[in-house]
């Protein structure tokens, strides 16, 4: 039996700006089950970060939740009190942020910061420090007791990201959000961090919402993947299904453009021509239309719905509908 942990249900989020409302997220729907790893993939500006901050409700003051719900264990987080949100943050839901060089407080020791985040625990300070040292050991920081006394700038980027992971897992959360945790690191470190995350996920049985624009990492780590484009979900499904049988042109192009996918030496690296549409002034019809080489007349007028093509595989493209009719 699979239990749903997090349900994003027809979520629409705007940013109020001087140019009018920026429709950062539109009608986002997907689930994360207990113990599952779900990847979110998309270009910069596709709304990944807005989504994460909405789940934690750590949004900028000009954010407006227009529609939809974010249910965590059945409770709508958008209706929860600030107090309830604070109880969840760093306890049931933890997060690892993108840039490990900026994520820790520069003037407090790692030990102090790891003590502070255990503010809910009734343990003694010595027990909390022991717990912190144990967690640092678990992410492969050598000599953890001594290193607790050190400051963030005394650690390398890879180590800092492992510390961030240790901090996020310390409360044994049900959901770990990883916001491009490897983007700022070089390739060999990336592999290390991914392997460490996999090990820890097996040990702690938490669900992971893994945000990345690196398809290789998503394929390696995730069970399911959600492809986002310009603030909307264009395709979602099992990782194997999405990578071998993509049903949206955007997904196909993303896979073609992934450096890991390029086998032959090419003079020009493949790209997706064109730009993401202006979110403050969205065109009608399909949002990917202008960049799509298979666009049809219908795409200009009607928004393709996110339809289920087979069990667990959804895509929002009219091409799939033509296949059905012909």
């Amino acid at each position: 039996m699979t239990d749903t942990l997090l349900e994003i249900d027809h979520l629409s989020v705007d940013y109020e700006t001087g140019r009018g409302d920026l429709k950062a997220l539109r009608d986002i729907t997907f689930d994360v089950n207990k113990g599952e790893i779900v990847g979110i993939v998309g270009e910069s500006g596709c709304g990944k970060s807005t989504l994460i901050s909405s789940i934690l409700r750590l949004t900028a003051p000009n954010t407006r939740f227009r529609e939809g719900e974010i249910r965590f264990k059945g409770q709508d987080l958008l209706q929860s009190s600030e107090r309830h949100m604070r109880d969840l943050r760093g306890a049931d839901i933890s997060i690892v942020f993108q840039d490990p060089m900026q994520t820790h407080n520069p003037v407090l020791t790692i030990g102090q910061q790891m003590l502070d985040i255990q503010h809910r625990s009734k343990q003694s300070k010595a027990d909390k420090l022991a717990h912190a040292a144990k967690m640092l050991g678990a992410v492969g920081i050598p000599d953890p007791e001594a290193r607790l006394k050190q400051y963030p700038h005394e650690f390398s980027g890879g180590m800092r990201q492992r510390i961030a992971i240790a901090m996020a897992l310390m409360s044994e959360p049900d959901l770990l959000i990883a916001d491009e945790p490897t983007t700022a690191l070089d390739a060999t470190l990336e592999v290390q961090i991914i392997e460490r995350l996999q090990e820890l996920q097996r040990e702690f049985h938490c669900a992971i919402l893994f945000i990345s624009h690196h398809l290789g990492v998503i394929a390696e780590l995730c069970d399911r993947v959600v492809v986002m484009y310009a603030g909307a979900v264009v395709e979602s499904g099992e990782v194997r299904e999405i990578f071998h049988n993509p049903k949206h042109p955007y997904t196909r192009r993303l896979i073609e453009c992934d450096p890991g996918h390029i086998k032959e030496r090419a003079r020009v690296l493949p790209t997706i021509p064109g730009e993401v549409p202006d979110l403050a002034n969205l065109p009608g019809g399909c949002i990917f239309r202008d960049r799509c080489d298979q666009a049809m007349a219908r795409c200009a007028t009607q928004v393709p719905p996110l339809d289920q093509l087979k069990k667990g595989h959804h895509a929002a493209c009219w091409l799939n509908h033509e296949e059905v009719t012909t």
């Binding site: 943050r89 760093g90 900026q102 994520t103 407080n105 520069p106 407090l108 502070d116 400051y151």
Partner: protein, 312 residues
């Protein structure tokens, strides 16, 4: 940390040496023969020659400088030309009055400034933030001597809440006498520090580590007071350290307006009478005060910010 402190101390000594040497040469460049000014127009040439020799002014200037440093290393700042008292005694007798004035000014202006700035940063663009900004800017724009005169008129002469002149005797009386001068000197600093803290705070609150602290459910109060303010305060510490120099010069105004004893008044009086030993003694102590306070600011910064300890 110890290594940092030693290096910083060495640098301070160097600064002190350069500043005192420059001052020594500058005061001798001021027009007017000190001996003539001290003895008046009707002094005999013999008397003039005698005083010139007694002050060592007949020696070449490099030799005067050497003698000055030689005496200084033995803790001797020379003797007052008029009273014959030791300059060290005179300067150290005046020093506490200036010190208490400066510390009182910094204490009230920094506490109020930091509180106002942190509050404004926590509620940016609200009505309270705008009011704070307006008050801060007008405080910055008010020169210390104008504020001193106005404060004297309003609070001492008309309302008679506080004493107008002197430094007072005994702890409470001295405190009572400090209120107006410290208010006058500190007022512009309140605005300056408030603006600085607000800007610095807003910058720090936007940094990722603050978002991390919030994402771990750490109470907002602790996020602001510990995670952000501790970093935002760093430039303020530096500014206050350097600001000691400005406070020393504003103290001169306050000491004159409120007829308080103190270093500033001592320097002004001794420059007009060309009393070289006292000028040099007061300048030396003021420079030392300034050098020590900047060094202290650096040390406090190093204590607060581990990154500063490893940097050069």
């Amino acid at each position: 940390m110890l290594n940092f402190a030693t290096r910083r101390f060495g640098l301070s000594l160097l600064i002190l040496f350069v500043a005192v040497t420059v001052m020594f040469l500058m005061i001798r460049a001021v027009p007017g023969d000190p001996v003539q000014i001290m003895l008046g127009p009707r002094a005999t040439p013999e008397l003039q020659a005698q005083l010139t020799a007694a002050l060592g002014l007949d020696q070449p200037i490099w030799k005067q400088l050497l003698i000055f440093y030689g005496n200084l290393l033995q803790g001797d700042l020379g003797t007052d030309v008029f009273s014959g008292r030791s300059v060290t005694d005179i300067v150290f007798q005046q020093l506490p009055f200036t010190l208490e004035l400066i510390f009182a000014s910094i204490l009230w202006s920094a506490s109020l400034g930091i509180a106002l700035g942190a509050y404004a940063a926590a509620h940016p663009n609200t009505l309270i933030d705008r009011i704070t900004a307006a008050i801060s800017v007008s405080f910055v724009a008010a020169p210390a001597f104008v504020v001193a005169l106005l404060a004297l008129l309003v609070f001492a002469v008309h309302l008679q809440w506080f004493p107008a002149i002197g430094a007072g005797e005994g702890f409470w009386d001295r405190l009572d006498h400090l209120v107006l001068p410290a208010f006058a000197i500190g007022l512009s600093w309140v605005g300056y520090i408030a603006r600085l803290v607000r800007a610095s705070m807003l910058e720090v609150m936007g940094e990722s580590h603050v978002r991390t602290a919030r994402a771990f459910g750490i109470a907002e109060r602790r996020v602001v007071m510990v995670y952000a303010l501790r970093i935002a305060i760093l430039p303020v510490v530096t500014v206050i350290g350097v600001g000691m120099g400005f406070l020393l010069s504003s103290a001169v105004f306050a000491e004159i307006v409120f007829a308080r004893p103190g270093l500033g008044k001592l320097v002004i009086d001794s420059i007009t009478t060309r009393n070289y030993p006292i000028v040099m003694g007061s300048v030396l102590i003021s420079t030392a005060l300034f050098v020590v306070s900047t060094a202290l600011a650096d040390l406090i910064n190093a204590l607060l910010d581990p990154r500063a300890r490893t940097a050069n």
